[in-house]
Amino acid sequence: MTSETGFDPKLFDRFPTSEPRPQSEVDELTRIWAAPRGWRMLTIVNNNYVGLWYVAAAFLFFLLAGVLALVMRAQLSLPMLGVLPQETYNQFFTMHGTVMMFLFAVPIMEAIGVMLLPQMLAARDLPFPRLSAYAFWAYLIGGLCFFASLFAGLAPDGGWFMYPPLTNSTYSPGINADFWLLGIGFIEISAIAGAIEILVGILKTRAPGMTLARMPLFAWAMLVFAGMILIAFPSVILATLLLELERALNWPFFDATRGGDPMLWQHLFWFFGHPEVYIIFLPAAGLVSMMVSSLAKTELVGYQLIVLALLATGFISFGVWAHHMFTTGMPSMTTGFFAAASMAVSIPAGIQVFSWIATLAIGKPKYNTPTLFVVGGLVTFVMGGLTGVMVAMVPFDWQAHDTYFIVAHLHYVLIGGAVFPVFAAFYFWVGMTSRRPLSERLGKWVFWLMFSGMHITFLPMHLSGLMGMPRRVYTYLPGMQWEWTNMLSSIGAFILGAGVVLFLVDLLRNFRFTTDDDAGNIYGGGTLEWLPTGLYSTRSIPVIRSMTPLWDNPNLAKEVEEGRHFLPNSATGLRETLITSPIRAEPQYLQVMMGPSVWPLLGAVFTAGFFLLLTVQAYFLSLVCLPLATFSILRWLWDTDRPVHQKEVDVGAGIMLPTYVTGPSAHGWWAIICVLVVAAMIFFMAIFGYLFVYGVHPTYWVVPTERWWALPISVAYAAAAVLIFFGRWLLGRDRSTNWSPTIAIVFAALLIVAALATDWFSWRAQAIDPELTAQGAFSHAMLGLQGQLVAVVILMGGYLAARTARGLITRPRNTTFDVVTLFLLYTCAQGAATTLLLRFFPVSG
């Protein structure tokens, strides 16, 4: 057998070990991983708690958005009702869509990931527990404040996709749209933080031997999900930033009268928005794949094909964004490409559906509550998928666009593809976190109410749409033939709501949170999350030899509990987990993990404060929050990347692993690469926007003069890059002083600042006004993006200097140093690309 890292796979044969392990090891693990009590619970970072809070918060937003939907259905049940005034109705449908998509659908998947993945991978926790806590608090605080805007009449009202020109300052003059733009931008940052945690966690903290071929399908789905977030979400972050700049500073990115284009918003939004549908669907599909196998009590049919389908969906879903724009007059052949991709993406979805059907067909499923939700979801999703293929056909889409047919389609897909699977997952995995399972009897009622309610609501909407009822109307005239379909939809909505209320009753009656005496493996799952666990996850980390280890080795739970696998104790006396290689999951090193801290919470509070105060135009207070947020985050980071006294430790059976590594093996390296992917995607989408508006309105553009400035600026960036490499080289040299490498980096940072300043002032001298044309707006925005990176570079330089002063930069290698150098190098590359693009495009007039 070959190795990925040099680790000898024969060492796995030492497990399970035979010698008894003392009880004191368990006591020590319990002490080390104990969660604080009282008000200090707010500082908890254990995934068991944070994951549950995260799920609960996402479910709260589902309920809140559901209430909005019920009020809207009451308004539409009969013609000309006055339940809601028109303006409030606009806010309700905007908030319903926004909250469901941004505050429920994506976060619930991340939340389930944070809760399940460490146990499913047999990691002690995900690699950045404080990042999980930060992502959760930022999401909760930001989400609640965002929702509260409804009570002040300040909620956004331009629809969940906020198309300009409706949402520019002329047609949406209040701060309602700003709430959406800043609120969603902020919440997306939280989603990206969660995605980084999940992606690195899946690649680096799997149990030894859990190769890619043995990885639970939920982990595969979450891996693709996290990757898609890193690629898709930067687009909406950029879009919200540009629209906010247009509203606040009158920079015309989307104003066609000044060379901008409102279509650009649609491209940027849907480049995020359509993959978002799959971002929601894929984790749910992963959950279904895991549940189907357990519920049917058989191996899943077509594991490898499902992996292929997940990967293929992850790619092809990025080729379908413009199918939301078929009616906007795109060139016919381009429209054809998007139609083709929209149909092609149904193939991987079909592969998964057939795998699930085949598994249920060959297995022996009992029709208990999770099975009902899985099958109900399957039926509903397939129906939604079929109407999806219909609207992928351009001529049909022209007829159905912006009608209730689309509303019906998207709800079929999202409820069948995500909501029902999530409810199935609640019933299936509740035994992991509750002393008591949920009620089977009530559960079946919940399912049938929700299933029938869903179809009674949305099936007639197809007809409403085909009869011409447009979306987003707050009422309609009598005699349009829409009365009975709307009445049916409203009745169905309340039946669906009754099902959800019954589920809440079930939760109140039966859910009792616990971390140690849970109800257990009610449905006979075969994966690792069903091993006995405490707050430290499993007592020892098992060697994995199959996809369903609990089915294939009935003694595994006992072996793990007796500490006969990896890491039966705390080798360093600190929180720690095994880091393994991405493909074969070979042990690489022992990661020392961070414990409870108030700083992630404070960081989230102040970050939220910055964005929300900015929204309500309390600029001074907002600017006060910014340094406080920065300090909180730096203070939390200050505790990380500390030298460990033991260079190597015994992780079980005499296998020695290092406690510190750097470079591509290190989890920190993977995290900064993810951050740079996000930064690069924002920049790439900005270039797309720059070229797009030029392509649409070239007459508004002027050829830059004094192009020679690009030379000194690029040379400055290149010189900074050389200094960075020099500093990295110095770090490994014994003969240099401790300060030498850091000084090289600080000088590089200063050069980067000088390069940007030169770029800015020389560009300003061109007199290409950001308020007059889209060229001016984009060029200033791109320099602004570079300015954001440079601000981080300055912080990083200071942070590195502070750590050097404290003797925290280890030699010959150091993760913090690597992270800083990678970020600075990227900044140099983006800076040089920006200056070259601005000065050499357009080439001629």
Binding site: M1, T2, T211, L212, A213, Q304, L305, V307, L308, L311, A312, G314, F315, I316, F318, G319, P331, S332, M333, T334, T335, G336, F337, A339, A340, A341, M343, A344, I347, P348, I583, R584, G695
Partner: protein, 98 residues
């Protein structure tokens, strides 16, 4: 990284093809030259896909390691999926020319 590059090869080629034809269609909207360029691009990328798939198929016969064989199978399936999607993606150009 070469393991990941191989694993995702077919899908990366699909992505390259998709964005190439999107750019061509946007630069020459509604023009015959666009359809011709799209077809050329489609055939070129299909040829690359086929070449890499054959290479992966040949390499597969030498693999006796479980995970490598599993990844090799997935790679081949990826090329197959990518190839089908690329053909599909090229069809609008054929329809345009007809």
């Amino acid at each position: 990284m070469h393991n990941w590059r191989n694993l995702l090869g077919g899908l990366l080629l699909w992505a390259a093809h998709f964005f190439a034809v999107y750019i061509i269609g946007s630069v020459f909207p509604g023009e015959r030259i666009a359809a011709v360029l799209v077809l050329i691009t489609t055939f070129a990328i299909l040829a690359v896909t086929l070449t890499l798939a054959i290479k992966a198929l040949r390499a597969r016969s030498d693999i006796d390691d479980g995970i490598q064989r599993w990844m090799s199978d997935l790679t081949l399936l990826g090329y197959l999926t990518g190839g089908v999607a690329i053909i599909y993606q090229g069809l609008p150009a054929v329809m345009f020319l007809l």
